[in-house]
């Protein structure tokens, strides 16, 4: 009995396993890339029925976001303007521009709305609310990016659940319980700081202690993963998408989280009902 199977079949199990691993890996990687909002949403830039340019209207003409999206401060929904909002100006400016024909048609006939393609959309089970964000110091730019620089609007950020939670978690004060190190001593302040990307002095300041202070096992230390204030800005700068707080001496060092008693929720009830 010999050579029932040719010799090359000896390698077959290994090849199969390798092949499966390879395919599995590719599939996993593919799913991870192609089936996540990072791929499916970011960069979405459909052609709109009217080639409206945010860049011209906001950057050149200086229109405020809320001139058109006037529901953003009152409702969960930030509305697309009705045709009459456009016609406030365009009945005089570029009144005959063929590009504006759909707007004029809509203005004349209520049954012919301009069919804008929706770009930013959350799933139905997410109850996001615009008003509570823009009224409490979160700018449009945090989620929508620099719309003021776009000619055609593009989906800029992921809008995945992590995307929301990243901010919500940042604003939650976190506590760290000091553990024992391998020598049976409490962990050092600078080691804890390193874990959370902070400097030892910043952590000491956050907790109102000096750097040299020795901590106790079981002691609770305030930690934050970054600056909880960096997402917040003064309310008069909400729609100023170019605003940078670090360059604003009056507001640079203000602690809005504390001043305004900002409390985010990272629980399900924040967005799901």
């Amino acid at each position: 009995m010999s050579d029932v199977f040719p010799r090359w079949t000896n390698r077959l199990p290994g090849q199969i396993i390798f092949g499966l691993l390879l395919i599995g890996g590719v599939v996993t990687a593919g799913l991870n890339y192609y089936f996540t909002p990072k791929y499916t949403r970011v960069g979405f830039q459909p052609t709109q029925p009217v080639p409206f340019s945010h860049s011209i209207h906001v950057k050149q003409l200086g229109l405020d976001c809320r001139y058109c999206h006037d529901g953003v401060e009152k409702s969960w929904y930030s509305n697309v303007p009705a045709a009459d909002t456009c016609m406030n100006c365009h009945s005089a400016v570029r009144a005959d521009d063929p590009k504006l024909e759909p707007v004029r048609a809509s203005y004349k006939d209520a049954n012919k709305p301009v069919e804008w393609v929706q770009i930013h959309k959350l799933p139905d089970y997410v109850y996001f609310n615009h008003s509570v964000h823009v009224n409490r110091g979160v700018s449009c730019v945090e989620c929508h990016g620099r719309i003021d620089e776009m000619d055609e609007v593009r989906h800029e950020k992921q809008f995945s659940m992590t995307f929301c939670l990243d901010c919500h978690r940042e604003l939650m004060p976190k506590k760290y319980i000091v553990k024992m190190d391998e020598h049976g001593k409490p962990e050092k302040l600078d080691l804890i700081a390193k874990q959370y990307g902070l400097t030892a002095s910043a952590l000491a300041e956050l907790n109102g202690v000096s750097i040299t202070n020795s901590l106790e096992v079981g002691q609770k230390v305030n930690i934050t993963s970054g600056d909880p204030n960096k997402r917040l800005r003064p309310l008069d700068k909400i729609t100023d998408l170019a605003y940078e707080r670090s360059k604003d001496p009056a507001n640079k060092d203000r602690n809005f989280v504390k001043e305004w008693h900002v409390k985010t929720s990272e629980n399900c009830s924040a967005c799901h009902r």
Partner: protein
């Protein structure tokens, strides 16, 4: 996030009658548009683009899109903004409009919430003088009737088919204008108009105009409350009606008056009754002094009877004898001059109550009840209070003849209640005839116009409606359904819902309220105002009609009108209160004339009592699934009416042998040492298959299942009206029609009835939500007597394992909850991790920087009316599941009312308790969920993340309160009444039909051979509506069911799918909205704390008794904080250490020591003491000592 502006292409051509907010703005071009867009159905038939065709095209383009550039992206959605922005409109924020729901001679002032022009929820108008925002269950459910797919959708005319004997009339869809032509030339003496009662001044104005032209008007209500006014007119002279103010009454005697349940405006009475009964602060006040007391005499077991402190069960027809005796006692006790004669006459009329009703109240062992003493002591109590200067009240119910009402009025006069608890209001009788007058005056060939109601279904049997309708030259019918009356009509006009058209009404106290529409008529229906105006040839725009009437009442001027619409009522327009002398002679004459002694029913010679149903009313809500699935508060039966009888009656009827087999008493009685068992029929694995009996009464025959209701008067059979109307895919087969056996003379009760078993014997399944009727010694509801309270303020702590006597590991009450922060160390002993607060706050501590939500339910004021159940259903998109699913325990209601009997099987005491998710701080459900789908948040809410739930149901198994509900089927997506693609009314979700098909189910007849998965893929938003979803019915009529179901949903709450668990969320959407509103207002300040009372859960908001309080338990100023520190506060199953956020205030009863049925301690407490060797209130043989001494001191 249900944004109607964002529509997919497919949706755009889908629902044809979609109304945007613009339609509500009543501009002429929109009017024109509406007329064009919604013709009376004719156009729809010829519409070439059917949904079916569109689906074909769409599925092709869908496939292309999938292969195109967008790859895995979501399907493209469009945003369709307005042409011109409506004023004051912000998409996404709800709008609120004041309106009112008319009901018979009254109306309920409401505020309706509207999203994008579609009403989704109604609430009581809290601005209305005296209102607390509460409503009844009917008002809450009325919104579902707006979206009822079985409403009359089209204008129709009858066509005659066949010849000679085979001639048959059937209604055919015709253009609106053609149908309205039928109304021409009716303004003369040969026209007879039959209407429902109404308080609308506009209708009165139009009717007056038509009467001048000779038109005859009649009113008919199968359940008629006008006997109250009739009696007042005799006693106090014509032109008055009584208005009861229960809040000021210290004691109330009800003579078969179910003012908490089925009387007119019961929700107002509940509010007032609760106000008089509430113990506001039990640290300071003595409940024996502050609580009111309720005596009830009745034949059925009603909400009023179950909430009474003393109850006498007397057959409905014999209540008049009790009334006579009570009046005699009152006359004697007060001492009216020259009344001796009358007193002896009354006593003679009452005759020997003790012999006839030997079991009329609870007694010890074999002793006989002393009915005469009961009445004497009751009246003495009233007189004692009256002499002390307190107000009392005697009320008689609508079922009773006017003599009983006169007796009640006379007693009120004697007790000095007229002008305080009994107000006489000026009344304007309509002057319209009755249905009997119609029969009398109707000539062959006259024209008959029927507005509302359904006389063919509910007219008394002796009227013989069918004959009457045949005599008529022309029958024109305006009604909400194609019902029995419509089927015999020549022309049919669909009625508009009250939220669809303009109207006006007066509330029970006469205040003028607007009936303001929130949406244009979905199917072009008309109100009776429009029909009357058309007949008269006057202005027929309902807005202008109502405006003209208003101008006539309040004076013209837009400002007044706008304020009227804004406030929802016209201030100071209530009927004037009159003060009148009492007419003793007229009363006496009426008594001598009308009072007839009634035969005492006996075995085989039963008395039938017909009653207004808690769900169906008189049948007007016949197709309303929310009401059908709301259990009757006393019987807990859904979807049916039954033949109710007492324990004794059932046993005699069945015979000793059968009774032992079928009733749940005998064996259990032995086991439980004399205490009764389940109080009802034995169930077969939780399901009740009841014997069907034939009931002969008034010369007619009814057939229905029998049901035992302990506490009813013996030999009385209770039958609910309003069932068996036989229309609608939801309620089509619910119950039997009791109107068939109802005559003008025996409208409310009739003697001489016989019950015989149906041959061959048959059983009928009855779905009942509560199999176990007793607490069996478990202190789920804790009760005490008011006069014991001062001596036993901490009595709630002496029950169960959480009593200090039983356990050591649970600290005493002072620290049982985490909100009592002083003894946190003890709490650390709990085996559960504290889910909220996190590390920063330590175990068992709350996150102090956030608000902590909690609830208190006051069992002392809750009367068990079920309004909260329907409000919750409306607010939270809770589906109905059908009788079959309820019968196997799958009802979905998030809040339920538990009803428990205690004491003996003839005269039990009844207690109610609303149970929703308790939001335990140590929630047992959370620790067993394998996927973290149910978790806690920082504010103490126990959350359900539907997307995470995989349906293991472990949480439900581990929940000690049994409040979690599981979606066994796709209840929200599949309609009722369809089987194998055909309409079959009364087809419910069950294992035998195709309503439970999964998406992988291969195609069958109902899905036109397509796989469910394919259907779902083509249109995920449509659901799997079997078969009939293509927008057409076989006979060419548009079937809007699926779109209507979607319209009725609250966009703030997720619509749950099959396979997920759900439960009460404390209305998390309202909490979030409240917080968001506060934060938006706070802007860059730190004023983010939501003030107490701003967030109201749906059940709290609707509760007419204000028995539910919700708020921040960490806020020392809040109402819940205060209530949680009342002595009576306890948590159910507290010994499990679940630390529920919902706690209860113990119920206090207020019995009178001198009554023959006085009970030293409530029966449930006796039960507890006996089964658990407890000694609450001094144990099984109580010694009252101090408490009683105090009571006596206080009394004298």
């Amino acid at each position: 996030m249900n944004d109607n502006l964002i529509l997919t292409n497919e949706q755009k051509s889908g629902p044809r009658y979609w109304r945007s907010l613009e339609h509500k703005a009543d501009s002429p071009e929109l009017r024109a548009f509406v007329e064009k867009e919604f013709p009376s159905g004719v156009d729809l038939i010829d519409d070439p683009v059917s949904r079916r065709n569109f689906m074909k095209i769409m599925s092709a383009s869908f496939a292309l899109a999938g292969l195109g550039v967008s790859g895995c992206r979501r399907p493209e959605h469009r945003i369709l903004p307005f042409s011109k922005m409506p004023e004051n409109y912000v998409h996404g924020s709800p709008q609120f409009f004041a309106t009112a729901m008319p009901s018979r001679g009254s109306a309920i002032p409401l505020v309706a919430k509207s999203y994008d022009g579609r009403p989704v929820k109604v609430e009581g108008n809290a601005e209305f003088p005296g209102s607390n925002g509460g409503t009844d269950q009917y008002a809450q459910a009325s919104i579902l009737s707006l979206y009822d797919p079985d409403r009359g959708l089209n204008f129709k005319l009858a066509e005659t088919e066949g010849k000679g004997d085979k001639k048959k009339k059937s209604l055919k869809v015709i253009a609106k204008a053609k149908v309205l032509e039928q109304l021409d030339g009716l303004a003369n003496g040969t026209t007879h108009v039959l209407m429902e009662q109404s308080s609308s001044p506009s209708r009165a104005r139009l009717v007056a105009g038509l009467k001048a032209k000779g038109v005859n008007f009649y009113e008919y209500e199968p359940i008629d409350f006008s006997v109250h006014a009739e009696a007042a007119d005799i006693a106090f002279g014509p032109g008055v009606k009584p208005y009861y103010k229960l809040d000021e009454a210290k004691a109330i005697l009800s003579l078969d008056c179910d003012f908490l349940g089925t009387e007119e405006s019961a929700f107002q009475h509940i509010r007032d009754f609760a106000d008089g009964r509430r113990v506001k602060d039990d640290h300071k006040e003595n409940p024996a002094e502050s609580m009111n007391r309720l005596y009830s005499v009745e034949g059925l077991l009603t909400l009023t009877g179950t909430n009474a402190d003393h109850r006498l069960r007397i057959p409905t027809g014999s209540v008049i004898r009790v009334a006579a005796l009570a009046l005699a006692e009152a006359l004697e006790g007060i001492g009216l001059d020259g009344a001796e004669d009358g007193i002896s006459q009354l006593r003679a009329f009452a005759a020997d109550l003790n012999t006839d009703f030997s079991k009329s109240h609870a007694v010890e062992g074999e002793a006989k009840a002393d009915t005469a003493k009961w009445v004497r002591q009751c009246v003495e109590d009233l007189i004692r209070l009256a002499k002390r200067g307190d107000k009392t009240l005697v009320v008689a119910g609508y079922r009773q003849p006017k003599e009983v009402h006169l007796a009640a009025m006379a007693m009120n006069e004697l007790l000095g209640n007229v002008g305080s608890t009994l107000l006489l209001q000026k009344a304007n009788p309509s002057g319209n005839g009755t249905i009997a007058d119609l029969k009398l005056r109707f000539n062959d060939g006259d024209n008959l116009v029927v507005l509302g109601g359904d006389p063919a279904y509910n007219a008394p049997a002796d009227i013989e409606w069918a004959k009457l309708a045949e005599q008529a030259g022309r029958v024109i019918r305006q009604g909400y359904y194609i019902d029995q009356t419509a089927q015999g009509a020549d022309a049919y006009i669909p009625a508009a819902h009250y939220l669809e058209s303009w109207g006006d009404a007066r509330t029970s106290d006469g205040t003028l309220v607007p009936v303001q529409p929130l949406i244009a008529p979905l199917f072009g229906g008309m109100t009776e105002l429009e029909v009357l105006a058309r007949i008269g040839g006057t202005e027929s725009d309902p807005y202008k009609i109502v405006r003209k009437t208003f101008d006539g009442i309040a004076g013209s001027g837009d400002a007044k009108w706008e304020k009227f619409l804004h406030d929802g009522f016209l201030a100071d327009s209530a009927s004037a209160v009159e003060s009148r002398g009492y007419d003793w002679d007229a009363t006496r004459a009426a008594w001598e004339d009308g009072a007839k002694p009634v035969k005492v029913p006996g075995k085989g010679d039963y008395e039938v009592t017909f009653y207004r149903d808690h769900s169906m009313d008189d049948g007007r809500w016949c197709n309303n699934g929310w009401l059908l699935e709301t259990p009757n508060p006393v019987t807990r039966i859904v979807w049916d009416n039954v033949l109710l009888m007492s324990y004794q009656t059932a046993r005699e009827l069945l015979g000793e042998e059968v009774a032992r087999e079928e009733l749940d008493f005998e064996e259990l009685n032995k086991k439980s040492g004399g205490l009764p068992g389940r109080f009802g029929f034995k169930s077969d694995a939780g399901r009740f298959y009841q014997k069907v009996y034939k009931l002969e009464v008034n010369g007619k025959e009814l057939e229905g299942p029998i049901w035992l209701l302990p506490g009813m008067a013996d030999n009385v059979v209770g039958v609910a009206l309003g069932y068996g109307r036989g229309l609608g895919r939801v309620g089509g087969v619910a119950g039997f029609n009791a109107y068939r056996a109802r005559t003008s003379s025996g409208a409310h009760f009739a003697g001489g009835a016989k019950l015989t078993k149906k041959e061959p014997s048959a059983t009928y399944e009855v779905a009942c939500t509560q199999e176990q009727g007793i607490m069996d010694g478990r202190p789920v509801i804790r009760e005490g007597n008011a006069n014991d309270f001062v001596g036993h303020k901490d009595f709630v702590d002496h029950f169960d394992l959480d009593s200090t006597h039983h356990t050591t590991h649970i600290p005493k009450k002072g620290a049982r909850y985490s909100w009592e922060k002083d003894q946190d160390e003890d709490l650390a002993a709990s085996p559960y991790k504290k889910p909220f607060g996190g590390e920063s706050n330590g175990p068992g501590k709350m996150d102090e920087e956030r608000q902590q939500w909690g609830m208190v339910i006051d069992l002392g004021t809750c009367v068990g009316c079920d309004a909260c159940v329907v409000a919750c259903q409306s607010e939270n998109n809770i589906p109905i599941v059908g009788k079959h699913q309820v019968a196997i325990g799958r009802e979905m209601s998030w809040i339920r009312i538990d009803r428990y009997f205690s004491g003996d099987e003839h005269n039990p005491q009844v207690s109610y308790q609303g149970v929703a998710c308790q939001h335990c701080e140590d929630a047992p459900c959370e620790s067993v969920c394998p996927v973290n789908a149910t978790v806690h948040d920082e504010e103490g809410l126990n959350l359900m993340a539907y997307n995470r739930c995989v349906g293991t149901r472990y949480c439900s198994n581990n929940c000690p309160y049994k409040v979690r509900r599981f979606n066994y089927y796709d209840y929200n997506r599949r309609p009722f009444g369809v089987e194998d693609g055909e309409r079959k009314p009364g087809t419910f979700f069950n294992d035998d039909n195709d309503l439970n098909n999964s998406p992988l189910h291969p195609g069958n007849k109902s899905s036109n051979g397509e796989w469910e998965l394919v259907r779902w893929y083509k249109d995920p938003s449509r659901g799997s509506v079997p078969g009939l979803d293509d927008g057409k019915k076989e006979n060419g009529e548009f079937d809007p069911e699926w779109d209507l179901i979607k319209l009725s949903k609250n966009p703030d709450v997720t619509v749950r799918m099959r396979g997920v668990m759900e439960k009460c969320t404390y209305c998390v959407q309202r909490i979030q909205q409240g917080k968001i509103e506060q934060k938006v207002a706070a802007r860059d300040t730190d004023n983010v704390k939501v003030p107490d009372g701003k967030i109201k859960t749906a059940c709290e908001q609707v509760c007419p008794a204000d028995a539910i309080a919700f708020g921040d338990i960490s806020d020392k100023e809040s109402e819940v904080y205060r209530l949680k520190r009342q002595n009576r506060n306890y948590s159910v199953l507290g010994f499990l250490d679940t630390r529920p956020r919902t706690t209860y205030l113990a119920k206090l009863r207020n019995p009178n020591v001198n009554m023959p049925d006085y009970y030293e301690i409530p029966n449930s407490v006796t039960e507890y003491n006996e089964k658990n060797h407890g000694n609450v209130f001094g144990g099984a043989t109580p010694t009252h000592g101090e408490a009683k001494g105090h009571e006596k001191e206080a009394k004298h």
